[in-house]
């Protein structure tokens, strides 16, 4: 006799965007897990066709309200690669500073508003705020400091417009940057204090092996460039990304599922992967924190992502301070260039993982084609695989509990579902 039951959760709460999760269970066996997400970057790929390359950074920044810098940065790097444009060292540092701002504000939002409530069985950030007002207030102030960097370097707080192919439209003055220092220094202390608070959380045990993938750079913690490193396979250059990583169409989702081409296997991106592959490149205080609070390697427990995130916040703050303290305005805000028919790709590290762009440009400087692979769609298959492993321990629980625990697990990946989905409904079918 087959009994089918269906649980519906109106929304996967405290993630960016919306999606749907369908689970089919037979007895104590999980038969299938399907995460349905819908993927606007595909729309943008079509939207960019025929547009001038100068428009690309501003258009791609609008793909996501949460990580516009990641889209913008990856697009300019890819176009600069195509056109053999070398940016000046000063501009490169300012781009890292801009990325620091995005990592700070995005990670802090996730830590204090979205993820930390899970460790205290709080149903919302409001409940967490009632129990831990000092910590949440600290988080909000840190987020504002990250926003301040975005506003200064990006030209405005939302959908930055100051980044251009070859550099920036306008360079910040030394004074403008120096004004950020007192708050950044406060935030660095606050982040270290927060990290010690987070390290004391009661972490569920969920350690399963998987392939971790992140950029790796020879001299710095990866943000804007590097090779694509893995815990299972040899590193590859970004130019070879599409040879090694492919995308599958699946019936249940308009988002493409990224896989390793050689075995159609999933892989895992994001702070845990970055930290596993790059901890030796952390800034001094972040490295000290890593030694003090990070669980032993390899980093496999998905619930430890929040630790990786706060260590990266410390890193980003420390690096931001160092960049500003050493800042000498570049002689030119951007490198001049001439367009030509060409192709180029780039990968950078968005807060939630590696993001890849590829552009083909014609000799008039118009986009012929583009490919945009956001981190959440790359993590999607890994999330499904992890849920399949995680669910058996929950099957004796009530359906509300199962849904809530699935949400908690998914939040560890910080899915930016608005880049790839709308609304999560959980359908659990028991047979």
């Amino acid at each position: 006799m087959t009994e089918a039951r269906k649980i519906t959760v109106n929304a996967l709460t405290r993630v960016e965007g919306e999606g749907a999760l369908h689970v089919r269970v037979s007895g104590d066996q999980v038969e299938s897990v399907r995460l349905s997400i819908y993927e606007p970057p595909r729309f943008f790929e079509a939207f960019l066709r025929g547009r001038a390359i100068e428009e690309v950074p501003d258009i791609t920044a609008r793909i996501c309200g949460i990580c516009p810098v990641a889209y913008q940065m990856t697009s300019v790097h890819a176009i600069e690669k195509a056109l053999d444009i070398s940016i000046s060292p000063g501009v490169r540092q300012l781009r890292r500073l801009l990325y620091c701002g995005e990592w700070i504000e995005s990670h802090v939002l996730h830590i204090f508003m979205l993820n930390a409530p899970d460790f205290f069985d709080c149903h919302s950030g409001i409940e967490l705020a009632e129990r831990f007002p000092d910590q949440v207030n600290t988080g909000l102030r840190m987020k504002k400091i990250g926003n301040g960097l975005l506003e200064l370097l990006g030209g405005r707080a939302i959908h930055p417009v100051n980044v251009r192919v070859g550099g920036f439209y306008r360079l910040p003055s030394s004074d403008e940057l120096a004004q950020q220092l007192p708050e950044l220094r406060w935030a660095l202390d606050a982040a270290i204090t927060s990290a010690n608070w987070i390290a004391g959380f009661d972490f569920p045990e969920f350690s399963i092996d998987c392939e971790l993938v992140a950029l790796q750079h020879s001299s710095e913690y990866p943000m804007n460039e590097g090779v694509i490193a893995s815990t299972r396979c040899p590193s590859i250059v970004v130019d070879d990304y599409e040879k090694h990583f492919g995308e599958l169409h699946v019936e249940h989702s308009t988002a493409l599922h990224s896989v390793r081409r050689d075995g159609d296997t999933p892989y895992f991106l994001g702070p845990l992967a970055r930290l596993q592959l790059n901890h030796h490149r952390l800034t001094p205080l972040a490295k000290q924190l890593f030694r003090e609070i990070c669980p032993p390697l390899p980093l496999r427990n998905r619930f430890h992502s929040i630790i990786a995130r706060i260590i990266e916040v410390v890193h980003a703050l420390e690096e931001a301070i160092a960049i500003i303290e050493a800042y000498l305005p570049p002689s030119e805000p951007f490198t001049a260039y001439q367009s030509k028919a060409s192709c180029g790709c780039a990968a950078t590290e968005a807060p939630r993982g590696l993001i890849y762009h590829h552009y083909e440009i014609d000799d008039e400087g118009l986009v012929v084609s583009s490919k945009i692979v956001p981190p959440t769609s790359q993590n999607q298959l890994q999330i499904e695989s992890d849920l399949r492993e995680y669910l058996p321990r929950l099957l004796k629980e009530s359906e509300d509990t199962i849904a809530a625990e699935c949400e908690k697990l998914i939040r560890n990946y910080d899915p930016c579902i608005s880049c790839s989905t709308h609304f999560l409904t959980l359908n659990l079918e028991r047979r």
């Binding site: 929304a11 609008r62 508003m113 102030r141 959908h159």
Partner: protein, 160 residues
């Protein structure tokens, strides 16, 4: 954080359809005489919390579905009991499920004042990804900006 005697007007929005209402109102206000009011655009409501202690008056502009059809926009006082109920029941959706009402409640949990918050809510119909604002909402945004600017002008002689 010291409070200054001033007004901030915060447009909350996204690039998606009528959700641009709050941002467009700010753009319109930037072309008008809005006194000394500080104009800001945000896309995540939680970013307004730190502003609550910085300004003497906080005006929030956002879009919502479900307003009466004959009301292109509404002015609501957060501390007014009747308005508060309406704000609480507004079918708001926002980034990470942290909508305007939840954000203001969170602010209260954090000990921030909310008695100086005024909301201007535009009637939204379509929030499709990257779609244009509807013609009616564009007109409403312009009218809303005029109404806010007029209020600011009328209030200019009132000590804060």
């Amino acid at each position: 954080m010291s409070m200054v005697c001033s007004t901030v007007i915060i447009g909350i929005g996204s690039p998606h359809g009528d959700d641009q209402f709050g941002w467009v109102v700010i753009d319109e206000l930037a072309t008008m005489d809005s006194g000394d009011a500080i104009l800001r655009k945000i896309n995540n409501p939680v970013d307004l919390i730190p502003e609550l202690e910085t300004y003497n008056r906080v005006i929030l502009v956002d879009a919502s579905i479900g307003l009466p059809r004959n009301e292109p926009f509404l002015k609501l006082m957060y501390m007014d009991a009747k308005d508060h109920k309406l704000i609480r029941e507004m079918p708001g959706r926002s980034t990470h499920d942290i909508g305007l009402y939840l954000t203001l409640r969170m602010a209260e949990s954090l000990g921030k004042r909310t008695d100086h918050v005024i909301l201007w809510i535009g009637h939204g119909v379509s929030f499709d990804k990257m779609s244009e604002m509807s013609e009616a909402t564009v007109i409403a945004a312009s009218d809303c900006a005029i109404a806010i600017a007029k209020e600011l002008c009328d209030a200019r002689n009132v000590a804060c």
